[in-house]
């Protein structure tokens, strides 16, 4: 499904990411953990072809991302606020993304129904622009927009940060239902070991750009990670 080979990224001589070989099979919920500067966002940016790899490449469903734009039709992502168009209302934003993924207004309206709980009455129908929403509500809108149009691959950078506890729990539930029938591949990064072990079936630990652990999640995983990070 997603395959990174000989992938490195250097900024003025300093290596920030170095992944020899990483294979994420279809339907996997894949978690990336690591301290600040470990290279999590860099990896996602490379996967989305937002930065240029120094060496190597990533193949997303048989398409090499820096050579063709065709992966865009089945890949959705939310990395940070620069994925929001701040002068639109949340509805307009969802419709816009919907149109890009050939979903009409009615499709989007019915799609949004399942998130009524997550939105908690603070996102839809507020007659406010995204720029006037709180950070947490902005993030909710961004994450939900990334789920529009049944993408095969969903990339979420730090989805749990800035969210209130209720939403964190609901988001975890949503992500689990999405991956139930092993159709959708989800890539998540997080600083929160609890959340990520709960959601992901596989966790890779990045340290200074290198993958140092590759764990199939089990009951002991959280302990193992806590030991690894408590230096």
């Amino acid at each position: 499904m997603i395959k990174a080979s000989q992938l490195t990224k250097k900024y003025s001589g300093k290596t920030v990411l170095n992944i020899e070989d990483l294979d994420i099979p279809k339907g996997q919920t894949f978690g990336l953990v690591g301290n600040n500067g470990a290279g999590k966002t860099t990896f996602f940016n490379l996967l989305l072809d937002l930065i240029k790899p120094t060496t190597g490449h990533i193949i997303n469903q048989e398409i090499q991302v820096n050579l063709s734009e065709d992966w865009k039709s089945f890949t959705a992502s939310y990395i940070d606020e620069s994925f929001l168009i701040d002068y639109l209302t949340p509805e307009e934003y969802f419709y816009f993304v919907g149109e890009l993924r050939s979903r009409n207004r009615a499709d989007i309206d019915s799609f949004l129904q399942q998130f009524t709980e997550i939105f908690n009455g603070e996102v839809l129908g507020q007659k406010k622009y995204l720029r006037d929403l709180s950070k947490g509500n902005q993030k909710k809108a961004g994450i939900v927009a990334a789920l529009i149009g049944n993408p095969d691959v969903i990339v979420l950078d730090e989805p749990f940060a800035n969210l209130d506890p209720t939403t964190q729990i609901r988001l975890k539930k949503t992500l689990k239902t999405l991956t139930e029938n092993k159709e959708i591949t989800i890539l998540i990064s997080s600083h929160d070991l609890n959340h990520i072990t709960e959601v992901c079936e596989r966790i890779v630990v990045l340290d200074k750009g290198n993958p140092v652990k590759d764990i199939k999640t089990s009951a002991e995983t959280l302990k193992e990670l806590e030991v690894f990070f408590s230096v």
């Binding site: 209302t89 149109e99 890009l100 993924r101 406010k128 149009g149």
Partner: protein, 492 residues
Amino acid sequence: MTSRFISLEWKQFFRSSYWQKSIAIKILMFVLALQFIFIFLGLGFGLYPLLKEKFPDQDPLKIVNNFIFYWLLFDLMFRFFLQKLPVMSVKPLLTLPIKRKKIINFVLGKSALSFFNFLPLFAVIPFGIVLINKEYEVSSTLTWMLLMYIFILSNNFINFIIESKSEETELSFFPIILLTGGLFALNYFNIISFSSLLSGAIEAITAHPALILIPFIILAALLYINFNILKKKLYVDSSLRTKAKIVSSSDMSWTSRFGDMAPFLKLDMRMIWRNKRSKSTLYMVVIGLLYGLFFYPNPTYQKMIPMFIFVGIFITGIFMINFGQFIPAWDSAYYKLLMSQNIKYKKYLNSKFLLMSLSSVVLFVLSIPYVYFGWDILLIHFAAMVYNVGVNSHVLMFGGVFNRKRIDLSQRAAFNYQGTGAVQWIIGFPLLVFPVGIFYLPYKFYGFYAGIATLITLGAIGIAFHQKIMKWISGKYLAAKYETISAFDQKN
């Protein structure tokens, strides 16, 4: 404490990526500043002899005093458009153990050091020296100079009061126009003669220096008002976080006739309408449409037909030029989204082209009333429109490949150089001047209609090869993709 503030400001200025990148603009500003200093110096030294020569039987100082009112009005207007209240990035300071009073005083004090407050001194001081040389009384001349400086500072603070009040209104420059225009009109039609009132006051004060206390008190009052305005604003929830407006949203379903370009077209129109910076391109359109009234009725231009081509290109292309030169920077804030969403670059660019072409056609239609000045004018406008759609639009799109400056949409546009780089200067010139040259050659040798035909032909060629040109241009955009993303990522 103050020295620490100063060092913070210093770092903010020199470490901003803006400064490091756009030295060309700083040099331009520096040269302009020097030029103004020399003009004012010349004025200061030359005004007395000049007035003496022109009006030998009047006292030059009295003439000058009569003009102080106009100068102050003009100065105020200039300040409004050019000078901004130097609000430091105060948010991080609010939680530190610094008294609010100190922060405010520093901000106000810093504004007093603005170039605008020094520039008039380059005229006032030499003029005072000349006066003393001409054996005016030293003490009253010094009082006069001091008074002028108080006026300058008062204007400085009046401007900030007006700015902070008009920030809240929709048409931000409306209040200042109303105020200065109103005062000017009252004076001009002799309803209230401010200029003679003011000159009388100046003479009274110079005659009795103790009276200078009155303007001093006014200045102090202005300072106090500013202090209070700022004090109210120094809370995270008032000024630092902008007010949320209730949104009226229409679904613009009429755009659906443009097929798969419709989402982008809608996005662009919302972008233009809902952001300060881009909205002012619409005001420019109104000004641009009226531009012809300057030229067409004026008999001096009747012999200069090529000049009309320039006007035609300007009228039908004003939106195109204002909007097009910042493609794709308008979308800089969410460029990453567009680059990773299900979008083909060519479609995105084509929608921009469509918007620019539509604007040109609409402006042509709106400019039809100019037919009053002759059918030739209409023909010129038509040729200019075709040329704009066929040639200028593509040139603008190509220029965008080199656009590397992020735009903050919430900033106002008048005299805002953000996002302006060498590209805009290089591109802007040929857009307006080339067509004049292209028209001129056939016009000179074969007459008016040959010139018009040449413009139309060139435009038609551009339209015919539109698909080919766009394919080539989108290739250029794709090649520059990573560079553009990382450049748009950098905030000033």
